[in-house]
Subunit: 385 residues, 2 copies
């Protein structure tokens, strides 16, 4: 019987960025092969890690089917995909996809996602689908201005999100996001929160593993750092883990899923975003946990037993290394960081750096996040990419 | 300035087996590219991990120079190379090689290796170069029969080693090893030992890092398991680490080096073998140490600061997974092993399994080797490859 641990087994990734890269390393570690399909013309990080490299639009079903036929199993690293195209790709190629098109369909559209989770009893940020001027006014009057308008598909790191303070801004944003072209536009209330929390969950037919609840720290809507465990009441952390597991079950997920929560001023947890893949909030798990989110991603989609998510040390801090220059990627100033004990550098192999682009990260392990966070920030300071 | 952490930097490996594979993963993690030159016609593990894959004889200088010109730096994963060819490859291509041809020249020939270390005050097993019948008789009479005959270049895991019990066997072995064709043949006395120990050392211009002293367990001259730390007197472990560092300094090594010792019945340490590369005895460091031998291999040859070799847990046991069938590589029976907490499976991606071939390994971490070793052996038992 050909098991998933067969050396001719090919795991295909839709998407070829750093998430696929860090996951592919775990596929290699299990002795299997990696194929990658990128929807971008430029050389992508994983393309430099395999002789099986494809490029096509994620809307080109024929090409996707061709790619899928070369693989034994497909997984994905981003949400810029259409569940119906994925369903047809699986049907025509006969190659399984995990997370499945059915799971993906429940979260690909932010409106359907929120409704799915709400129906399962998971608290979400107040939202509404808006289709008219009166919807916009109605939402603002009910939940107070300003609020957020989001296109219901394709946004990340704040792209595709617009803050609107009044009706004029709301109408302009609605148009900019494509509402008049028939796109589903979601209104979302601002939530006053004390912390943004995140939890990753690995799940397949062999079981479910939930990672510690961590805190994500954002600047200009981009995640700049993660602290694990989150410096909040352990009861809150446990509740976030329970909600994340419930959310994974709601979509019958097989794979690795990430969930982001707001911890509101009045102590409630609201599910904010979900992702059907390894996530920036879980990069710290590479060194901090017995089994990383990437290893459990591979284990989960292959149907293998899942590994422990227990932390090896009491605390971890992860710092994103964002591009400091527009130039070929070249890391300078990392000496102090590399000399620091239990400090772990990862560079993503993107050929071109751009200011603010996620180029790498590093993780520092130790006894408490209070002690680690200032140290980690200081070590990151001299790094130029 | 182009640093080694430049995304267009290409690290070339001479040799494409599991050692290069596990090292290449660490090169990827630093965002650089990997090229590989194999001297074998069959598809090799690292060939499936990069689009930059070459094949040529390691005696074909022109081809080696062509390969080297495509790389920013070359390293190696085996000893089946000739230091003079490496020297000319560097000279003609302008591409640096670490460990250097000069370091390599001091250990490529077992006779020169033993003499170099002996001159540096490092105790080695009794040896002599043999060229005649009287040399063979003389060695046996002085050190007692049986003893070992070895070809001075190219042996590993017992290949190229022959035990001889009398002059007739010695003459036959001498001929078989190529002595009459002008090959240097080494006689080596049998040593009565209680343990075989190993130590890895990373060294470059930024410093030296020495790994814990571990025990290697052999069956039929093949390493089947490693225990770390070695279950011997800590004074002995420390002495082995000191000798390993001294040996690395003797050859002015830049890279990752591994040394194997006999701990004799009367408590002496004798250096038995050295390798200018990551080594099977150090696979346990991937999970057991803060920085693995493979990460420090990459850091060392790139001239980056070296990482800590401290163990994360008090004990580790590594079990080699040898081929159980002659068939396409396919791992069965690994479920219990994968379910075990802090148990880490690695499969090497070799397309064909053969009985006894090194196909993968796994490492179990815990509190003591006494507790781990029987557990690890039991978990390995059902595995079929």
């Amino acid at each position: 019987m050909k098991t998933p641990l067969h050396s001719s087994f090919v795991l295909g990734y839709l998407g070829a960025g750093q998430l696929a890269r860090m996951s592919a390393v775990q596929a290699f570690r299990f002795g299997i092969q990696v194929a990658v399909c990128s929807n971008r013309k430029e050389q992508e990080p994983v393309g430099l890690m395999t002789p099986h490299s494809f490029q096509c639009s994620f809307e080109d079903l024929d090409q996707l089917v061709q790619f899928a036929r070369k693989c034994d199993l497909i997984t994905l690293e981003n949400e810029f995909l259409d569940s119906e195209i994925l369903r047809q790709m699986v049907e025509r190629s006969g190659t399984p996809l995990y997370p499945s098109a059915k799971s993906f369909a429940k979260i690909e559209n932010k409106w359907i996602e929120k409704r799915s989770f709400e129906e399962a009893g998971i608290p979400v940020t107040p939202y509404a689908l808006v289709r008219s001027e009166s919807d916009l006014t109605g939402f603002g009057d009910k939940h107070s201005w300003p609020f957020l308008l989001k296109s219901s598909k394709g946004g990340y790191d704040g792209y595709g999100n617009i803050v609107v303070r009044n009706l004029a801004e709301a109408k302009k944003a609605y148009q900019k996001l494509g509402g008049e072209k028939g796109r589903d536009i979601l209104a979302e209330a601002f939530v006053n929160f004390t912390h943004e929390l995140a939890v990753q969950v690995a799940r397949n037919e062999t079981g479910t593993v939930v990672y510690p609840c961590c805190e994500t720290i954002q600047e200009d809507q981009i995640c700049v750092a993660v602290q694990a465990p989150a410096p909040v009441d352990p009861v809150i952390r446990k509740k976030a883990q329970e909600l994340a597991v419930a959310a994974t079950e709601t979509i019958d997920g097989k794979g690795l899923f990430a969930f982001e929560f707001f911890l509101t001023n009045d102590g409630r947890l609201l599910l904010n975003e979900s992702a059907p893949r390894p996530h920036n909030s879980g990069h710290y798990t590479i060194e901090a946990c017995i089994t990383s989110q990437f290893e459990n991603h591979v284990r989960a989609v292959l149907g293998l037993p899942l590994g422990s998510s227990k932390m090896r040390k009491p605390a971890a801090v992860m710092i994103n290394l964002l591009g400091t220059h527009n130039r070929p990627a070249n890391v300078e100033g990392a000496t102090a960081m590399m000399q620091q004990k239990d400090s772990h550098l990862h560079i993503y192999g993107k050929l071109e750096s751009r200011v603010g682009r996620k180029m790498g990260h590093y993780t520092l392990l130790g006894e408490s996040v209070d002690e680690l966070y200032p140290k980690a920030k200081k070590l990151a300071q001299p790094i130029q990419i």
